[in-house]
Amino acid sequence: MLKNFKQSILVSLWFVFLTFPLLAVRVNTMDQVVVWRWMNMLWVAIGAFVLSYLWRYMLARQQVRKQVADEGGETRSKTQLLLEDMSFRYKAMGVILLAALVFPLVFDTYQSTIMISALIYVVLGLGLNITVGLAGLLDLGFVAFFGVGAYTYALLNHHFDLGFWITLPIGGILGCLFGVILGFPILRLRGDYLAIVTLGFGMIFKVVMENWDALSFGPSGIANIDKPSFFGMDLSLADSTIYIYYIMIAMVIFTILVTTRLRNSRIGRAWIAMREDEIACVAMGIDIARTKLSAYALGAFWAGMVGVLFASKTTFINPASFTFMESAIILSIVVLGGMGSILGVILGAFLLILLPEYMRAFSEYRMLAFGAAMVLMMIFRPQGIISNLRQTYKYKGSKEKINNG
């Protein structure tokens, strides 16, 4: 007891020392004054003291859980068990779908717009989930594929007046293509090199878009991009938002459907196996190069496609929308939601996009919180909010089969 107290005091003092120059001092070189912010130190002291208790508690709890798992005990939570119940899942899906469909009719345009961004991130998250969550290939330049899609639509629309619906698949396919182009040179790389090269790729994309004026119109971007047309009719802003909202809902459903099928297929299993153990995977006769490429291409496909929608929603794009921070946000959605878990990623996207939106007061702390959350999740809950559900199969002689037949 006393030992814990002493330790927490030490931690608290340590963090006061650590944060002192940055949090307590602010130098104003213009007016030649130093602003001392002593109150900050008090907050750090109290915060660090409390958190160190929490930290120890959480570590201890995790230890206990690990022990239970080692002894073969039940480690699945009640929610997980509930989610594995198919009839519950169908019911829940029905309710959510209904709520999603009436949403824009109940709420105003502003709310719909926010919801559209959240849905865009759902699709982005599900796309990245294929690459990172299922196949285990860390991609830090994912936003580049999103940018490829957005620029595809913006440019085709600007130069050739091509419409939204034609460009939608083109954006997806181009995203795919870039995924393959990026994938080829880095097939042989190990996980952590991959991360840095993809990060570089994302940066290259932005630099090229900023400087290749002839192609991309540089930092000033492309404006007046057409919104999706609705049988040639001109829609008011409100109607057009609702329309885009429904397109987005359809796209999310499509994405969920396809990614779920992919995950539960022969290809999806190969992805997961590759993530779990590459050497064992290749020894089982799986072509690693092809499996990696397909994971890159299919992840990028969604980013490219939703990029088209993004351009048509904002009607203006420039390179500033495609920074590393965006990649980081998409990655945190996947990590926090639960790598590999489709439901988790959807939940993660809503949480991470809507929460800062509705808690404006804290929105400047958004990235700080994301960063901290990524660290904490890895330490205390690596499986994410909702861990990947266990897949069960029916086979001859199993109970399910007897019940059904």
Partner: protein
């Protein structure tokens, strides 16, 4: 010819800074096989702390070289403290976890530290005082290489020599090399592996802080974002030279510095970063182990 020399020394200066930061990556990677994404942030924090110390000192009436030394020392102390805490909080609990976990934790920590500085201080660029004076004896060659460049080069060389001595000659250095070779074996022969890992982070952070202070007073401004790009480039340098290899990091830093300097000088400065990453991808494809690295057979 003069232009060439300018670019040459510009590249050399830049490269030695990359090398200082790259050493931190390489040492950490050598020991725990982790890309410490937050290492660039440690460098940024070093520069920031130096800026604050220098600012406070100036206002309270100190001047000249005493500020440089004070700011440098405090920056190093703080960078070390941050590096040590970083390892303890974000990486140590993840030892033995799947490879992706510490990497994601590192990225999270990088984002966290960036935004911490942004919120604690300011999102804007802050002017960094010119701590390095212009030497008179540099006058004749000042159009090719200035005094700050000279100071950076000398500091880097001295730091490298000290580091090499530390690793080659001391007991601690021996323990570090042993841990790098085989962590379990080192533990068996009585090396306190946790302490060695902490120490590696501390040394790496000190080098980054030195780089941070030098760069900041050379370029003349800092903000919360400088660490990220510098970090990525230094990592590129480490990979270029062969990750895990200390001379490799130095060589990689210099090669990268020159490549960038000449590419920007003779081709286009807009695409500077593209060259960097183009080089990285090329190296990784042609020679994944880097210039001086040894390829390791994975144990099955």
């Amino acid at each position: 010819m003069e232009y060439f020399l300018q670019l040459f020394f510009g590249g050399l200066t830049r490269g030695s800074i990359y090398a200082l930061i790259a050493l931190g990556y390489t040492m950490v990677y050598g020991i725990i096989q982790l890309i410490n994404f937050a290492h660039g942030e440690i460098y940024m924090i070093g520069a920031f702390v130096a800026l604050i110390v220098a600012g406070v000192c100036t206002i309270y009436g100190l001047s000249g070289v005493s500020i440089l030394i004070l700011a440098g020392v405090i920056a190093i102390i703080y960078s070390c403290a941050y590096g040590y805490t970083l390892e303890k909080v974000a990486y140590r609990p993840l030892r033995g976890a799947p490879r992706l976990s510490p990497l994601i934790s590192a990225i999270g920590m990088s984002i966290f530290l960036q935004n911490y500085v942004l919120l604690a201080q300011t999102p804007d660029f802050l002017p960094f005082p010119r701590l390095i004076p212009d030497f008179d004896f540099m006058e004749p060659v000042a159009h090719i290489i200035g005094s700050p460049e000279l100071v950076i080069l000398i500091t880097t060389v001295v730091t490298m020599i000290l580091l090499t001595l530390l690793i080659k000659k001391t007991r601690v250095g021996k323990a570090m090399r042993a841990t790098q070779q085989d962590m379990n074996m080192a533990r068996l022969v009585g090396v306190n592996v946790d302490r060695i890992i902490s120490l590696t982070f501390i040394i790496g952070s000190a080098l980054a802080a030195i780089g941070g202070v030098l760069v900041a007073s050379y370029i003349g401004q800092v903000n919360f974002y400088i660490g990220f790009l510098a970090g990525v480039k230094a990592f590129t340098a480490a990979v270029l030279g062969g990750i895990g290899s200390i001379p490799g990091a130095v060589l990689g830093g210099l090669v990268l510095g020159w490549a960038e300097s000449f590419a920007a000088g003779y081709i286009s400065s807009d695409y500077e970063d593209v060259f960097t990453f183009g080089l990285l991808v090329l190296i990784l494809i042609l020679r994944p182990a880097g210039i001086l690295g040894k390829s390791h057979k994975q144990k099955v």
